[in-house]
């Protein structure tokens, strides 16, 4: 399959996954919404609309390149190739999950694909620098990518990590997903500069802004950044404009949004646009698209089935894994 179509396919897989999670998340939470109840309890931050960021960047990574992701991690995990069944089982809190049910949706860890995440805003920057440091020290030509929201760019860790990475010329790419909001707080109310990419100047590293939530433009910018890192020329700060099609978390009434804001994002749906473009460019036919949709549906269904059929952990499992045994 062509690279662009592959990207399209991954974006569709992510979208399908998020839509499906949105649905499943409501299971057992009606008629009265209760965050604690249902198939998937706890918080749920979906990334529908932000697929281009994950796909555009991660297509340039190898499976042994490291990724750190934030509280909204599904798109990154899927793009990185984390096993969908085990990831879903984790989100369902099952024994077959990536963490056997201990982690949940904000704590997806997969050593196989070198994927980690954290529910703490801005916390993924330092570990990415550390992974990059290990690559340098071990003479590996791997790269680490830290993804975070525009809200995270105001955390102290952002500054410390960019400085450290720049200083050490570490192979890291910092990617800021600007989806305009940090929960209810719009970027203009949190960020004293219009583009986070300009903050790269504070570390003498390249900063690139990619507007339009356009997977090809993102991919192009990411290719340069990843190559730069891999070739030993140090870090890059990428800022990517994107949109959040669900609320901050499921259950968010989004009363803070301006009228029409959400609709305009919906109309600017990156997948629909990319699909049209591929079709224009004759790289995708309706028929092919149907096959893709069927395939991703199947993939998600399989993952969900796997999760549903998996057992809950035993209560006494809770006491294990605080410390690794020798």
């Amino acid at each position: 399959m062509d690279n662009d179509v592959m990207m399209y396919r991954t974006m569709c897989l992510i979208r399908r996954y998020e839509d499906c999670m949105a649905e499943i998340y409501t299971e057992g939470k009606t008629p009265l919404f209760s965050i604690a109840a249902g198939t998937v309890p706890g918080e749920m931050h979906l990334a529908a609309g932000q697929e281009p960021v994950a796909v555009g960047v991660i297509r340039h990574l190898r499976s042994d390149d490291a990724v750190t992701a934030p509280h909204r991690p599904h798109h990154f995990a899927i793009a990185k190739g984390v096993d969908l069944g085990r990831m879903t089982a984790e989100i369902f809190g099952r024994r077959t999950g990536l963490s056997q049910g201990k982690g949940g949706h904000m704590h997806l860890f997969d050593p196989q694909t070198h994927f980690s995440c954290s529910g703490i805003v801005g916390a993924g920057f330092p570990p990415a620098v550390g992974a990059a440091l290990a690559f340098m020290k071990q003479g590996r030509d791997n790269v680490a990518v830290a993804f975070a929201g525009e809200g995270a760019a105001n955390q102290g860790t952002f500054h410390e990590s960019l400085n450290l990475a720049a200083l050490w010329k570490a192979p890291v790419v910092f990617v800021i997903e600007d989806n305009h909001y940090a929960i209810s707080v719009p970027k203009a109310q949190s960020t004293a500069i219009s583009h986070n990419s300009e903050r790269a100047q504070a570390y003498s590293i390249p900063g690139v802004y990619v507007s339009g939530n356009d997977v090809l433009a993102i991919s192009e910018a990411a290719q340069e950044a990843v190559t730069r890192a891999r070739q030993g020329h140090g870090p890059t700060l990428l800022e990517v404009e994107t949109t959040r099609l669900y609320g901050h978390f499921q259950g968010d009434a989004e009363a803070y949004l301006n009228a029409g804001e959400k609709e305009s994002w919906r109309q600017w749906d990156p997948i629909r646009r990319f699909r049209a473009e591929l079709m224009d460019r004759q790289m995708l036919s309706e028929e092919q698209d149907e096959r893709i949709q069927a395939a991703v549906n199947q993939q998600v269904d399989d993952a969900v089935r796997f999760a549903r059929e998996s057992h809950e952990p035993e209560a006494d499992e809770a006491l294990r894994d605080v410390f690794a045994e020798a």
């Binding site: 809190g93 049910g101 703490i120 105001n154 929960i183 707080v185 109310q189």
Partner: protein, 338 residues
């Protein structure tokens, strides 16, 4: 407005009412934090304040906890009385230096010349699968370092009175509200926390524990969300003829040692129940107080129930296994009183 004889409030409303009344009373009282404005606080602790007092006094901040909590230090030195929200206590680690090395110590380090009338309020507690970074209690840790008052209300009445007292206090006060007591609607909440709350402002002095249930066979010493759980356990045991005393500490700093000792001297037994981690925390401290001062009165070993030194797991099955439940409290008390 006359106070209705039985105006029940959720704990979230009680907190925001207390803050609102103090803001009305003193223009130096300001609120800031993440999503405290239009959103009203993720857990509703600032609900209605933005509408009432506007963006000048209810300020949304960037996700820069060190900066905005640290800002309360300079602001209070210059005359403001900030009420600052740290969204979840679990995030304390990004701002702890400002909190404990400065907010907590400046008064002492300045020989008393600097004061920080700051309330740092934050959400605690698990029980709804928010996993290891959003479900902790952690107040034991703040109680360990000197200079912070530590308040953990268990019901709406106390929540209001303690918040009002906290805002009027000239010291930094850490105010911990348990998510499972707030009456949020979208999250399970113990309805024992939703009680009568007078409309007029009132204070509850920091440092006074309360016996919420008198008993004579054994004492449960506890705090926060474990208080209603202990009460439920006590009610069950009452039917079995066991009389349980439940002591709600309400504040860890100052700690009402006398009330604890008095209760244990009366019942000759102590079960300490906590939703914080078991070791090196609240349960240890209370046990030590008892062992120091009421050893001769104990007729059986002290028992502790708390999170067994594991991070809070995500799966409900696992989480329920580590957070002390009514059943576990009941069962432990049963063992202790047989």
């Amino acid at each position: 407005m006359a106070t209705m004889p039985m105006r029940k409030l959720t704990m979230a409303r009680a907190i925001s009412e207390a803050i609102g009344q103090e803001m009305a009373r003193d223009s130096n009282v300001l609120v800031w934090g993440e999503d405290v404005g239009i959103y009203g606080g993720i857990f509703g602790a600032t609900q209605g304040l933005f509408e009432r007092f506007g963006p000048e006094r209810v300020v949304d901040t960037p996700i820069s906890e060190s900066a905005f909590i640290g800002a309360a230090i300079g602001a209070s030195q210059e005359g403001l009385r900030p009420v600052v929200e740290l969204m979840f206590v679990d995030f304390f680690g990004v701002a702890m230096d400002q909190i404990y090395n400065h907010l907590a110590k400046n008064h002492y380090m300045s020989g008393g010349s600097v004061r920080h009338p700051v309330v740092l309020m934050t959400a605690i507690g698990g029980g709804y699968s928010d996993a290891a970074q959003h479900s902790q209690s952690l107040y034991g840790l703040f109680a360990h370092v000197p200079g912070l008052k530590v308040v953990v209300p268990s019901n709406a009445y106390d929540a209001k009175g303690l918040m009002t007292a906290a805002i009027r206090d000239d010291n930094p006060v850490m105010y911990f509200f348990h998510k499972g007591l707030l009456g949020l609607g979208w999250m399970p909440s113990d309805d024992l926390a939703e009680v009568h709350v007078p409309e007029d402002p009132y204070t509850i002095p920091l440092g006074q524990a309360q016996v919420v249930l008198e008993g004579k066979d054994v004492s449960v010493i506890t705090i926060g969300a474990m208080v209603p759980k202990a009460v439920r356990a006590a009610r069950t045991l009452a039917q079995e003829g066991v009389s349980v005393e439940v002591v709600d500490l309400r504040t860890l700093v100052p700690l009402d040692r006398d009330r604890v000792i008095h209760s244990v001297k009366k019942t000759h037994g102590a079960l300490i129940v906590d939703e914080d981690y078991r070791s090196f925390g609240m349960t240890g401290e209370i046990a030590a107080v008892v062992a120091e001062e009421a050893l001769d009165y104990l007729d059986r070993p002290i028992r502790r129930l708390a999170v067994p030194d594991v991070p809070i797991p995500y799966s409900p099955v696992l989480e329920q296994a580590v957070i002390p439940s009514v059943e576990k409290i009941t069962e432990t008390l049963r063992q202790m009183t047989q």
